[in-house]
């Protein structure tokens, strides 16, 4: 019987050697600013988590009655805007580069799923604001949820349920998916250019 720990370590190191996980060079074709939209998306997510932790520390009602609380809510609000702003730019860039080529399909898939789960994270956030916007989104959204049977289990009008989805379940899912996505990117490396016409031997 071989040593399971040693085998796990060997396969992890083989899949992602340290110099590939944290490379200090990139291929020469990485020369455009469209490559940084992933990093700015990650940074926006970081500020979402930080401002979210501050808001969570004081509870969901705090920001309505505290100037400091409202400021951190504003940080959270603009971080959401920045997050989707950069995530969509990142998606555009990867699409136009056809970044799924060369065995990078799973990288694209995890990114696209992260986008979809992020929609849910943002949606439950809008429902957790405790203001008219939340009330309106809840009563409007319920018909869509009920129309396909989801509303029977995922009740937009249940603040407690939406709040726990927003502050725990969905952020954890986004963070986990992002981690897998980043490891996939590091494992496969950035996608090489599309070959120019006339090259295909």
């Amino acid at each position: 019987m071989s040593n399971l720990t040693a085998r796990l370590r060997a396969s992890l190191v083989a899949a992602l050697p340290p110099e590939q996980l944290l490379p200090d060079s990139q291929p020469e074709y990485v020369r455009s600013y469209v490559y940084v939209f992933g990093a700015t998306t990650l940074a926006s997510f970081g500020f979402l988590i930080i401002s979210g932790i501050v808001l969570a520390l004081f509870g969901p009602g705090w920001w309505h009655v505290s100037r400091i609380g409202h400021f951190f809510n504003s940080i959270h609000f603009w971080s959401v805007q920045a997050f989707f702003f950069f995530m969509v730019l990142h998606l555009w860039a990867q699409f136009f580069m056809a970044a799924w080529r060369g065995g990078r399909g799973i990288t694209w898939l995890t990114g696209a799923v992260t986008f979809v789960v992020s929609l849910g994270a943002a949606f439950t956030g809008y429902l957790s604001q405790q203001n008219f916007d939340s009330q309106w989104i809840a009563v409007q959204g319920k018909d869509a949820m009920n129309a396909i049977g989801i509303g029977a289990y995922f009740n937009l009008l249940n603040f407690g349920q939406m709040y726990t989805y927003h502050v725990f379940l969905l952020p954890v899912a986004v963070a986990a998916l992002t981690t897998v996505h980043l490891l996939q990117v590091r494992r496969r490396g950035v996608v090489p250019p599309i070959p120019p016409r006339g090259l295909g031997g």
Partner: protein, 41 residues
């Protein structure tokens, strides 16, 4: 803002406009630190 069935608030229009502009800039601008490239920036 209203054209046919398209109705969009000014803030949303600004955001989408800035997105397109930033994307165009992202393509147009070159990353720093590529000294020695044959492109001779």
């Amino acid at each position: 803002m209203h054209w046919g069935i398209f109705l969009i608030s000014v803030p949303n229009l600004i955001v989408i406009g800035v997105m397109v502009a930033v994307f165009a800039l992202g393509i147009a601008l070159r990353l720093p630190g590529h000294g020695g490239g044959a492109s001779g920036r």
